[in-house]
């Protein structure tokens, strides 16, 4: 029989996180700090609106690019939060989560051989989606000493004549790093001079704990070359609703809508009605969840300081990214041993790119009570490792 599979798909490695998932699943009593989604339920008034739309029999397709009311609310939101002007009719597409937006944006923009710059550590899908779109992923290894922000030097060094797209994954999963306005301004000219396009994944935009998030699209000359991606999963705790969106130049959005139309048809109708409610009346919920995350973040940073674990202070998303290099183990060895001995699951930094080696992703999408138990065990584990090292 012929090989049923394409060479390309055989060449793509499964997500590194998958392997760890299988191990953890074998341990039902393990505490996990490995989850990349909010611990809150979707606020009730948003769920209620979804239920109401079902009761009303709104069970049909919406237009390919999304429900008109939702696209208008998305534009209103971008206006009030970033002072960005987009036309709902030309510049918006509603997608099945931010993930689909990443995929169709890359497919709409890449020709074979085009290079895509991917600052790492980062979310797991940019790399494979680039390959599937015919592009060539070029990682930029971000550094702990820069708090995992992208510097102009790093960007410049990675650009070749084939570079077309820069992915901007900030606020960042897994590091929690942010790019402040000054950091963005420092790279803006390089992007424009080299005629690059930007796919800015701002899914954690509402979860920052220093200044308010600034979109790269707000910088002069960048809006016309940026696809801004956001969604409802993180800000409104709506992961299971699978709803995101992209806004950007009409010629790109139009082609993204074409792919979306053939592959997906339209994003789930129920979710779109619920999302309208989220954008209209959800600001207070977001503020409340942000405050809760921030309290947990402070708790973790304090606990790391107490146990002498090196960690830069992250100001975004809901992850901390402590360094474990002092123990002389790989991230995977550390995570596996920690799981076996203390029954706590954390994700090795390497699941998010090779330069995540020596780090762990710890999620604080958990109640303080839960975090306290887990951190108590981490303290025990770390103390034991240090003792062993001393004796050796």
């Amino acid at each position: 029989m012929r090989d049923p599979l394409s060479k390309q798909i055989r060449g793509i490695k499964p997500s590194g996180i998958r392997k760890f998932f299988d191990v953890v699943n074998e341990m039902p009593d393990a505490i996990s700090l490995g989850v990349g989604e909010p611990d809150f339920d979707t606020p009730w008034h948003i769920r209620d609106e979804g239920i109401y739309s079902l009761e009303k029999g709104r069970t049909f397709y919406t237009s390919n690019s999304g429900l008109k009311e939702l696209k208008i609310e998305i534009c209103n939101y971008l206006k009030r939060s970033q002072n960005l002007d987009y036309d709902y009719n030309k510049h918006v597409i509603v997608t099945v989560g931010g993930s689909e937006a990443i995929d169709v944006a890359l497919r709409a923009m890449l020709d074979p051989g085009d290079e895509v710059l991917i600052p790492q550590p980062c979310y797991v899908s940019y790399d494979p989606c680039t390959i599937l779109a015919g592009g060539v992923p070029v990682p930029i290894n971000l550094k702990h000493e820069n708090e995992f922000r992208l510097t102009p030097q790093e960007l410049k060094a990675a650009i070749t004549p084939k570079t077309k797209v820069l992915i901007m994954p900030f606020p960042n999963n897994p590091t929690g790093a942010i790019m402040e306005k000054k950091d963005l301004e420092a790279i803006a000219d390089i992007i424009i001079e080299n005629d690059l396009y930007v796919i800015s994944d701002e899914i954690y935009a509402e979860l920052t704990y220093k200044e308010k998030h600034v979109s790269i699209a707000t910088l002069e000359g960048l809006k016309e070359r940026t696809i801004l991606i956001n969604g409802f999963s993180k800000a409104y705790a709506m992961t299971g609703w699978r709803l995101g969106y992209a806004v950007g130049p009409s010629e790109i959005i139009e082609q993204m809508t074409k792919i979306h139309q053939f592959a997906i048809m339209c994003a789930p109708t129920t979710s779109q009605y619920a999302a309208v409610e989220a954008l209209r009346n959800g600001d207070d919920d977001v503020a409340e969840m942000r405050e809760a995350y921030n309290q947990r973040r402070r708790y973790l940073m304090h606990a790391f300081r107490e146990m002498g674990l090196e960690c830069f202070e992250p100001y975004g998303a809901f992850y901390v990214f402590p360094c474990i290099k002092e123990f002389g183990m790989t991230s995977e060895e550390f995570a596996t041993k920690f799981l076996e001995e203390q029954k706590v699951a954390v994700v090795p930094g390497t699941a998010f790119g090779d330069c995540g080696e020596g780090f762990l992703r710890i999620s604080y999408a958990y109640s303080l009570e839960n975090l306290k138990i887990a951190i108590g065990r981490l303290n025990e584990f770390v103390t034991k490792l240090r003792k062993e090292k001393e004796q050796a």
Partner: protein, 173 residues
């Protein structure tokens, strides 16, 4: 002057944050509050003390589901219609009622009746005798309607009938 106003603003934000945390968990200690709010311990301690003195914080009670104990308790809500007294409105009669130790709470209510009284007794009989012998016989009480509580689903923002379960997958990107 504007400086001062800003200072006040900051303080009231801290108050609000402290209150929203201890409203759900009054056992959280000062040290932990200071850590999670990112402020010095002494500030939290002062703020708590000030709020206790001002009567903003009135107590640190415990939410108990008596159903799960062997102790028999019956609770009821009583709607009370009263004649307000000249010059004192409802205050005097409310005071008369809240002095009974078996009375848990007394609220002045808008709508079809005046006071809502919640009550706890050892038995149905005890509650009804309180209503008929003590409450109804008060001079200004016109009428009462007693509602016995059969089951508490949610109290003080806490769901009593179900435990929280984390249904998320254990590891996700």
């Amino acid at each position: 002057m504007p400086m001062m106003e800003r200072q006040l603003g900051k303080e009231s934000i801290m108050r609000e944050k402290i209150l929203s945390i201890i409203e759900k968990n009054s056992r959280v200690d000062i040290k932990e509050l200071a850590i999670i709010l990112g402020v010095p311990e002494i500030d939290v301690a002062n703020e708590l003390k000030a709020m206790e003195e001002e009567g903003v914080i009135c107590g640190y009670h415990t939410l108990i589901d008596w159903e799960k104990t062997s102790i028999e308790k019956v609770s009821a809500l009583i709607e009370v219609r009263v004649t307000p007294q000249r010059g004192q409105g409802f205050d005097t009669i409310a005071e008369r009622i809240y002095k009974y130790p078996e009375v848990n709470s007394v609220y002045l209510i808008s709508g079809g009746y005046d006071l809502l009284v919640s009550l706890e007794g050892k038995s149905l009989k005890e509650v009804s005798s309180f209503v008929s012998n003590k409450l109804s016989t008060l001079d200004s009480v016109l009428s009462t309607a007693t509602h016995f509580i059969l089951k508490k689903y949610k109290d003080h923002g806490t769901i009593m009938t179900k435990k929280y379960e984390d249904e998320r997958m254990k590891v996700t990107p």
